[in-house]
């Protein structure tokens, strides 16, 4: 039971850390904006630079690094193991610290390994491929809004500090465009290695990513029609309302577009090239497009995979899970909690600016929590399902997801034509969710459950 308390405390600490991170982000963006404004360069430039530093370096890269060790620890928990716990920090050799020192050990290992280039490789393209793989994936995160824009007081006026690097009108189209660029890195890596198996992996990756890009787009078309926008922050805004005219049931994309969610999640999962879609890697037979890479170049491929996981989580959170919103009632409760916290902490007249900042910090932390939960879901999927056969991958993409996506687009359009208030669409979505849940419960009630617990649980 002690572990239960410890883990609960750890969860609280993580939430508090995310709040602190969001607060630091807002402060830094505000400070950088005002500093560059004083320099005469315009506040937006400083804000963008600060957002890049805080989101890419301090959130995405740290989270990706932690996910590397989390994958090892969480997969161990799923498989009834302990996982890596032998790397210790000097002076703290009695504590395994949840395996986190293995981050340092892994990084040291990768940096100090031989940087090997095969004799048959095309040197230039071989060196270029990891960069061409990682760069677009890092760019993808630019449009994910990690928190609401908040007005920050300022000597020269009011700045809207937003935890979002770029907010183009094209929004999701930017996502599709950059995501399709990631194919080049993989295909180049496979071809430039001068190795048949790597080439096979590269070809598999290219054809798989091309196949699933169609479903990726179609999965989001439904949400574009529902919210009438391509911008992620506007999508989040439109999900803050209640469904069916209530104030407690959130109009999340998950509830109005469950099929779209499934399509996008499956397709984006295939784009990340992880199990059950890890045919391009296929470590048991062809090792895949990064077969010839060693050291930090391989590390870049691995890092790209984890950054992709975070980006996918961020996009799904923004588009389907309501971003930083819960439901209207809970949002109001959070806002009043923030206001009362500010009133309790800073005695004096009510300060709407401080209350808005506090609320924004809470909401940014909420967004981060949703992102982390989705990261966990992806890791759990990766450690649950076996790999598809290659014909199954293509059949799933072209013969299942693509028609399903088209049907979903037409059904969404029909529902929106009949009832533009999302009521009909929400009812349809809830019916679909109920169908899946019912089928799951029904199919799980059929076969006699194995008496695992009765046999001692091991």
């Amino acid at each position: 039971m002690g572990r239960f308390v410890r883990m609960s405390l750890l969860g609280v600490l993580i939430a508090a850390g995310l709040c602190l991170w969001a607060w630091l982000g807002y402060v830094a963006i505000d400070w950088a904006g005002s500093a560059t404004f004083e320099l005469g360069w315009g506040a937006t430039l400083g804000q963008a630079a600060a957002a890049i530093v805080f989101l890419q370096l301090l959130f995405v890269m740290i989270l990706a690094t932690l996910l590397m060790v989390a994958e090892r620890k969480w997969s161990a928990a799923i498989q009834d193991r302990i996982g890596p716990n032998r790397a210790r920090l000097p002076g703290l050799s009695r504590f395994s610290l949840g395996g986190i020192p293995h981050v340092l050990a892994d990084a040291l290992k990768m940096i100090s390994k031989e940087d090997f280039v095969p004799a048959k490789a095309n040197r230039l393209l071989f060196q270029l491929a990891p960069v061409a793989n990682l760069l677009p994936i890092l760019c993808l995160f630019a449009i994910v809004p990690m928190g609401p824009p908040v007005p920050v007081r300022h000597a020269f006026g009011v700045l809207f500090a937003s935890l979002q690097i770029a907010n183009p009108d094209a929004g999701l189209l930017y996502l599709f465009a950059i995501a399709s660029l990631a194919v080049y890195g993989v295909a180049l890596a496979g071809w430039a290695s001068g190795n048949k198996l790597a080439l096979l992996g590269g070809v598999r990756a290219a054809s798989q990513m091309v196949a699933y890009e169609v479903a990726l787009g179609l999965g989001l078309v439904g949400m574009m029609m529902t919210t009438g926008t391509l911008r992620l922050d506007a999508m989040i805004q439109s999900q803050s309302a209640g469904l069916f005219g209530t104030s407690w049931f959130p109009a999340w994309g998950l509830f109005v577009q469950p099929v779209g969610f499934l399509l996008f999640f499956a397709a984006a999962f295939a784009e990340t090239k992880r199990t059950p879609f890890d045919l391009p890697e296929g470590e048991s037979e062809i090792i895949g497009y990064f077969l010839e890479y060693s050291g930090m170049k391989f590390g870049m491929f691995m890092m790209a995979e984890f950054v992709e996981i975070i980006t996918l989580s961020g996009v799904v959170t923004a588009v389907f899970l309501g971003g930083w919103h819960l439901s209207p009632v809970l949002d109001d409760a959070l806002a009043s909690a923030a206001a009362s916290l500010v009133a309790w902490r800073f005695a004096g007249p009510p300060d709407p600016g401080a209350a808005a900042l506090t609320l924004a910090v809470f909401q940014a932390a909420l967004f981060a929590v949703k992102v982390i939960v989705l990261c966990w879901l992806q890791l759990a999927i990766r450690w649950t399902f076996p790999r598809f056969r290659y014909d199954q991958v293509q059949a799933l993409g072209w013969r299942f997801l693509l028609p399903l996506g088209l049907v979903n687009v037409f059904a969404t359009g029909l529902c929106l034509l009949l009832d533009s208030s999302l009521g009909l669409l929400g009812a349809l979505g809830l019916a679909e969710i109920a169908l899946v849940v019912g089928a799951t419960l029904w199919s799980s009630s059929r076969p006699a459950a194995l008496p695992v617990a009765a046999a001692g649980g091991h």
């Binding site: 039971m1 239960f4 928990a77 009834d80 089928a439 799980s444």
Partner: protein, 218 residues
């Protein structure tokens, strides 16, 4: 016209013929969710509850299902009858039961036992080992020496194995390191019948001839 058997398709691999039973199974989603539920159950149980560190994995208690034994800290006992590292069995007076008959050295397929026999003054019958060394690197732990010994003087019941070391001479175990464990005596032991067979004290007083590097551990 007899039906000719259809020629089988020539393929290296034939996919299993089992088809999904119903639409729910065909759609893959409910079964996938059930699989995820199993993973999540294991994850939460192992994350939230502490592990019973008992090395007896089968009988660990609690909701945590981890079966790992953290080896150097937790050591699972070997089952009885397991052939572990040798020991020279002492007599009740602390001297080895061994009579240097060379049977173990003879039968040893790895030829890892080296014995130098010594004779008691004035006793033409009984011998004792002046040196008894086992090269643990060569030993294949077959247990033939235990079977061959007519005096129950060598056993493999210590429940440990040879400690790893960085130099080869240190892994040649002499009497000082092999002679350990509980003493054994049988009703048929000769020293119950003949006073003269007691080995002289000085035969096992220091220094016992040792091979270089054969220091006791620690």
């Amino acid at each position: 016209m007899a039906d000719e058997p259809k020629p089988r398709a020539i393929a290296a691999y034939r996919a299993p013929e089992s088809r999904p039973e119903n639409l729910a199974e065909y759609s893959y989603v409910p079964e996938a969710l059930r699989g995820l539920a199993v993973s999540t159950g294991h994850f939460l149980r192992n994350l939230l509850f502490s592990r019973d560190p008992s090395p007896d994995v089968i009988h660990r208690r609690g909701p945590n299902q981890v079966t790992t034994v953290q080896y150097p800290e937790e050591i699972a006992p070997y089952p009885p009858g397991y052939r572990s590292m040798h020991r020279l069995v002492p007599r009740p007076d602390g001297k080895p039961r061994c009579v240097a008959c060379y049977l173990c050295a003879t039968i040893c397929p790895a030829q890892c036992i080296y014995i130098e026999a010594g004779e008691y003054e004035g006793d033409p019958i009984e011998k004792y080992p002046k040196r008894f060394e086992i090269d643990e690197l060569r030993c294949i732990v077959c247990g033939f020496c235990v079977e061959a010994c007519p005096k129950d003087a060598i056993r493999m019941d210590t429940g440990t194995h040879t400690k790893p070391t960085y130099d080869r001479p240190a892994i040649i175990y002499g009497i000082d390191r092999l002679l350990k464990g509980p003493a054994v005596s049988h009703q048929t032991d000769v020293w119950f019948k003949r006073e003269t067979s007691a080995p002289p004290e000085e035969a096992h007083a220091h220094p016992i001839p040792r091979s270089p590097g054969d220091e006791p551990p620690g």
